[in-house]
Symmetry: C2
Amino acid sequence: MAPMTESLKYELLARDSATRARLGRVTTRHGAFDTPAFMPVGTQGTVKGILPDHIAATGSQIILGNTYHLMLRPGEKVVAELGDLHRFMSWPGPILTDSGGFQVFSLADINKISDDGVTFKSHIDGSTVHLTPQRSMEVQNALGADIIMMFDECPPGDAPREYQVEALERTLRWAKQCVEAHKRPGEQSLFGIVQGGVDLELRAKCAEELIKLDLPGYALGGLAVGEGFEGTRSVLNATTPLLPDHKPRYLMGVGFPRDIIEAVAAGVDMFDCTIPTRNGRNAYAFTAQGPIRLRNSQFTRDTTPIEVGCDCYACGAFSKGSIRHFFFAGEMLGPILVSLHNIRFYQRLMADVRRAIGEGTFENFRQTDPRCGLGPKVQIET
Amino acid sequence: MAPMTESLKYELLARDSATRARLGRVTTRHGAFDTPAFMPVGTQGTVKGILPDHIAATGSQIILGNTYHLMLRPGEKVVAELGDLHRFMSWPGPILTDSGGFQVFSLADINKISDDGVTFKSHIDGSTVHLTPQRSMEVQNALGADIIMMFDECPPGDAPREYQVEALERTLRWAKQCVEAHKRPGEQSLFGIVQGGVDLELRAKCAEELIKLDLPGYALGGLAVGEGFEGTRSVLNATTPLLPDHKPRYLMGVGFPRDIIEAVAAGVDMFDCTIPTRNGRNAYAFTAQGPIRLRNSQFTRDTTPIEVGCDCYACGAFSKGSIRHFFFAGEMLGPILVSLHNIRFYQRLMADVRRAIGEGTFENFRQTDPRCGLGPKVQIET
């Protein structure tokens, strides 16, 4: 492959006829990934408990790191001195970092939001930290991910409309500041983030303004934060068509299989979520027939794998009975194995989604494959 | 390979000329391992944090499981119903289980030691448990390891001689009861355990009596329990020559590289120890130049692997700086990576020991290789 002259290339390979779903491929300077793509989350430099060879074996082609956490510990300068985030995580393939905005607004003890940025207390040592569009770019430039995100404000879904308007204006100003502050546009692709809550007018305005910046890709932010499935769907269906057809689209922090399938049908290409790993650490395993809780006593003597037919390492090597024991004994292998299975479950789903789009059968797949209905309210087997 | 007609075959392949060190190979019904061999410890069905493919990649050929822990949780019947310990751990190669004796005497809240066994409180639920030679065999027969150990009493090293004599008499009676109770001698090899503290006369008497039972292998127990390096060496040098030349010899629970090398020189073939994994979980990494503590601030920006030239997964993939961060961030990958490195460190040492014995250079290796001097008192780099 000749050296890339741009930071990112998006190829649209096929369109579904019945929905807006699209099959594509994104190439970065650290390799390519097929879309629709799911990105496992490696918050603090690791996908919790899983060595990179096993991450790769799940079929993951791109992973996500969290700017907020890495900025506070070990600090982006340390990561850069250790060779950038790829070396730090031992992940030679594509990486995306978020802007820190979502974590600041959802996790941090915020002191002040002003036009230049956010002041908050570090959750690690209580020190005061100031995060601005410029600082977010500085940190993400140092981390060196292939795709980086603009710093945005994420107001609560139930904030009054006038606050939503004010936050959106700020987000649009910050977007321009991010573009100006971004020092490595030839290597790192800065994606815009469309905000606006469930207000379709605000969403449209935000999309319109961000498109003027001609960014290499666009994300939808501030969804799956309590607005409900119908709210998400309505924003997705109204906003995704406004985004450029020849650039990748990323729905941030989503979600359950049902949500991902819905967004794929609306034309979204990229996803990240902590659900497979966080639920995995809690002994919650995905299967096509619904989730199972591996601490349940019904599995004590169960010699079968988490999911018959699954090709993940956990299902190839261990019975449900063993894994249940590992959770009760406090052995790390419990969380590790169920996280591995869940990531592979998501990646098999994405591979099947891509195949269906390519074969023109996505609408049928979406209607008939039991995985496509898995959401938070599916009955837990007990 | 033709089906085995015996539970274990020991081949003595080479003898060192300057010491009693020997190169050999032990074949079990689940495969073979080269001796001198080091067995990582998988107490509760896992070598903590490490998936079996990575254990195999360290060069480990046989691993150890703890009867005491597995008997209490999930219970040996559950393990048997799940297909035996090999399937339970997903380790298709050779496995050794201890008898439970050492853990009962070192960990448990003992109520009573009598001629028929030991009564103690479970550390899991406080229930009263009775462990006897017959029960230890029943549990180990159910677990299904390739090598199983007789149930012995492990008196404290500083117990008065008359108690040592009494304990030894009991251990010898229990040995015979174990032989009688062992239901699967064609599949599982029962090893005898020579006790007797630092009293060479008692050790010799114990060895003599156990040899009469014509067991497939012999272990030295009750060493490295506080008697000091000189005490261990004196027992090793006096007792190992009394054991049959054509059977494997196992020094239980030992130890640091220095201790293993000393025992190899005395003619010991098998070792197990939790040091590589337990120390690894505490960020203590072995290197030929001495141990390093990965939490140390000197490693914050260190781009080099734990040990330059090491071929383990951790050293191939991660810098000391990353690993240090993982410990501070509470990420599982910290303990996992250092445990992996330490096991590989031990296995590289064992491979080099075997090569040296085979080439007739063991005495020189022992005198000149810096690893051979690594013990608990080596200065920690700070």
